[in-house]
Symmetry: C2
Subunit: 153 residues, 2 copies
DNA sequence: ACTCAATTGCGACTCATTCGCAAGAAATAT
DNA sequence: ATATTTCTTGCGAATGAGTCGCAATTGAGT
């Protein structure tokens, strides 16, 4: 099992990352507006998995006057474009992250809410096998481990 | 990988199944009302993973006059009692099933919406290992494979 | 039958998300 | 540069699953 990126994302050149995202939009004929640029920048910088109101607040710090509706609309657009991913963890509202090249799953500390990323190739392979056995191929999947620190409970 | 129950659930004595459920409630000091009995019966019979409005409609076929609020309230109660499980599949509203003794995960045919149950012990073991490596124990987890029939796509 | 807390139905309410639409940018044509 | 077309935005209203408050009802011990 490898830790996909996470802590190291800050190391990447953020500017480069944003350009990759905006290019994807331009290629799809979608205008890169002030508000979309701000939201993309926030997403590229994010180490966590922020929800819409949080993204709204961060984006407004960069470019004041963005409405929450626009944040929601932009997030839907970006998701459709495959630029970001939406996660619906247990009872919470949707959280987002840029669609990195490498797939990963999530572990959520039920005490603190902390989200930890991971990917296990053996599990990924087994999932494909299970689907194949029944004549299916996987379109996408989600695996979430809700966990608690062991020991002093 | 084994198919946990599914098609065979009809084979079980439904009456016996319902009694097991109602007993769990009585033991917890929760009244088994007309409406709760109906909802439990519907759940015990269900081969699929119905949502609240569907359960409402089925329960009303047995005992007319049950309100949707009561269905929602009862479902929450039953979930808290550990008698049923709630599933939140991709964009849909919550779906429910009795909490059988054996754990399983779900595969959703993205074309038809069909839900297939499965359980893979190797994956379950790997999940526990991954959590343990980071000093966590799993409280619960969810794994959903969104799939499509292979071939003629 | 009597008592009383638990439960119900109803309608009002919440909260995340979506919509409608008129006003405001961007791209495009003249 | 100006006009025209098309896409986006902000605002506030609407949605829809699920929850809540409350008066009326009922389950289950006495
Ligand atoms: Mn992630
Ligand atoms: Mn199931
Ligand atoms: Zn995975
Ligand atoms: Zn599992």
């Amino acid at each position: 099992m490898r830790a996909p990126h996470g802590q190291n994302r800050r190391m990447n050149d953020t500017r480069e990352h944003i350009e990759k995202l905006t290019d994807a939009l331009r290629r799809a004929g979608i205008r890169v507006t002030r508000q979309r640029a701000a939201i993309l920048e926030v997403l590229a910088d994010a180490q966590d998995h922020p929800d819409a109101p949080e993204l709204h607040s961060r984006a407004n710090a960069i470019a004041p006057g963005i409405s929450l509706s626009t944040v929601y609309r932009t997030l839907s657009t970006l998701e459709t474009q495959g630029v970001i991913q939406r996660h619906q963890f247990d009872g919470a509202s949707a959280r987002f992250e840029p669609a990195e090249t490498d797939h990963h799953d999530h572990m959520i500390d039920v005490e603190t809410g902390k989200v930890i990323e991971f990917c296990n190739d053996r599990i990924e392979k087994l999932q494909a096998e299970i689907a194949a056995e029944l004549g299916y191929e996987i379109v996408h999947h989600r695996m979430e481990l809700y966990v608690r620190k062991t020991g002093q409970g």
